[in-house]
């Protein structure tokens, strides 16, 4: 089907996952991602072998996903910020056992129970591993409903390719809003049987474990993971450039805040201000080199987030010593307006580009 349909972000993730061959979903309701649970409860069971479980808790859900995925099922779970905190143990186990799975986080205001408004306060948790131990999780950050569909399918492929959990990180607004979407044809799955626990039969017993009591064995396992992460960092970075070619100021923003940034740029450009946007699509691996390359031309970057400033750490790693870095953010579930951001940029723009460029 290449027909354009109007669907909410949450429903799109569900539909894209099912089309990509996801046949196991476990989750526990939490706003603002309930519609994803709801969609799966109705539609994944229509598929042959499709299983939907509303688990007793978030922790149970992620462990069920680990079990299903270890037998070779394409499996996923989803939640929103507080629920994702609960799942961290399971995500660490998935990483340790090298089991592919998709975890969707539709972020809301925090910390604690916070509120149910859109927020980007889980960047650190998502990109730094989140759970215990030396591991990384691939993190994809869609900014449109179309990207939610595309990246959900890509997430399963990445999870299989690197045998690692992948997180789709969006926020309440992305989950709730509707936009036209066209579902692409998913790629056929490429995941060898040798990684699936299907019963030994007459052959040699095969098991997956994350408990490696011998420290040297655990160290070797960590080095193996590290080599894998290094390859992911080399190969899998993605980003979008928007009017950066001639920009004096480049905003760095992802997801919903990148949309707001585009709105601000559309207001500022007609006034003669050369402003562009750099949007990381993979938050880990962060497109470090791509961003640094922009500093050859642009000397001022404004990190913009719906948080107190978390991605700014990665922006600094990319740009410190190469360009000046500013920050603007609103935490707690507030979505700033394009006008508000445009005003901030306007002030910084003239401060950085001198009064002679005014007008």
């Amino acid at each position: 089907m290449t027909e354009k349909v109007l669907m909410s972000g949450n429903h799109i993730i569900g539909e894209a996952a099912i089309r990509a061959g996801c046949r196991f979903y476990a989750g526990y309701p939490i706003t603002p991602q309930n519609e994803l649970c709801e969609y799966m409860s109705e539609h994944i069971r229509e598929q042959e072998g499709g299983v939907f479980i509303q688990s007793e808790s978030e922790i149970a859900a992620v462990n069920m996903v680990e079990g299903a995925a270890s037998t070779g099922a394409r499996a996923m779970t989803s939640s929103s910020s507080p629920g994702i905190s609960l799942k961290q143990e399971g995500i660490s186990f998935l990483a340790a056992c090298e089991i592919p799975a998709l975890i969707v986080n539709i972020m809301r205001g925090g910390p604690g129970l916070g509120n149910i408004r859109p927020s980007q306060g889980d960047y650190f948790q998502a990109t730094r591993g989140g759970g215990h131990g030396d591991y990384r999780t691939i993190v994809l950050a869609p900014a449109t409903c179309q990207e939610m569909a595309d990246l959900t399918m890509d997430a399963f492929d990445l999870a299989d390719r690197y045998r690692t959990p992948v997180m789709l990180l969006a926020d309440g607004m992305m989950g709730q809003m509707m936009e036209p979407v066209v579902f692409k044809e998913p790629k056929p799955r490429d995941y060898p049987d040798m990684f699936m626990l299907r019963g030994a039969g007459g052959g040699k017993s095969h098991f997956i474990r994350g408990l490696l009591l011998d420290q040297l064995e655990e160290e070797e396992h960590n080095w193996k993971l590290a080599r894998k992460y290094a390859i992911i960092e080399q190969r899998e970075t993605r980003c979008e450039y928007f009017q950066t070619e001639d920009a004096d100021v480049v905003i760095v923003a992802y997801g919903t805040s990148a949309r707001v940034a585009k709105g601000a740029i559309k207001r500022l450009r007609p006034m003669g201000m050369k402003v562009g946007l750099f949007r990381p699509i993979t938050l880990w691996p962060f497109p470090m080199n791509e961003l640094r390359k922009l500093s050859e031309k642009t000397k001022y970057f404004l990190d913009f987030e719906m948080s107190l400033g978390q991605m700014i750490d990665d922006v600094r790693l990319a740009l410190q010593g190469y360009a000046d870095i500013g920050f603007f953010g609103r935490p707690g579930g507030v979505v700033p307006t394009p006008v508000e951001l445009a005003n901030i940029i306007e002030q910084r723009y003239f401060k950085n580009n001198g009064p002679e460029k005014r007008g």
């Binding site: 354009k4 109007l6 909410s8 706003t31 603002p32 149910i116 309440g172 607004m173 709730q176 809003m177 509707m178 936009e179 036209p180 949309r259 707001v260 940034a261 585009k262 709105g263 601000a264 559309k266 979505v335 307006t337 394009p338 006008v339």
Partner: protein, 180 residues
Amino acid sequence: MSSKTIFSGFGGQGVLMMGYSLAHSAMSTGYHTTYLPSYGAEMRGGTANCTIAIAEEEIASPISSEPDYLVVMNTPSLYSFQNKLTSGGLMFLNASIIDARPSRQDIEVYAVPCGEIAEGLGDIRAANIVMMGAFLRKTALVTLDTYLKSLETIMGSKKRKAMETNTKALAAGYELLKTS
């Protein structure tokens, strides 16, 4: 072309349906569009609203701090949203149950007795579609044909009867403002 509209009213008045159907027909027309509902801890009979952006180019923020058009279906919505409407903006007001009128002089207000008109057509539930008729007459965001096709797609083939009422309701709302 770029516009933002807020639809607001009680849960149950079909406020989200108005927004969804408009966004759907905008998509069918070939525009970029976004539909953003209010969400969260709402209760039956509580307030509902949604924001629809329609544009020829990619839409940045689906939120509207200053909508071009505002549809209010009940009195609390009038008080909540009247000051958000942009200067020179159009307000469509459900005159069947809203006695108050906005105090602003810089906007155009269309008082549509959509409840009575729908009742006259035999189904009070079509009040929102009457309002859509009036809304489309003045905003011309999409054509009536496209809008009706979208409604039909959304409601499915089972709702033949409802579609007949809706078609009449849409025309009634459209004609109302045409003649005034």
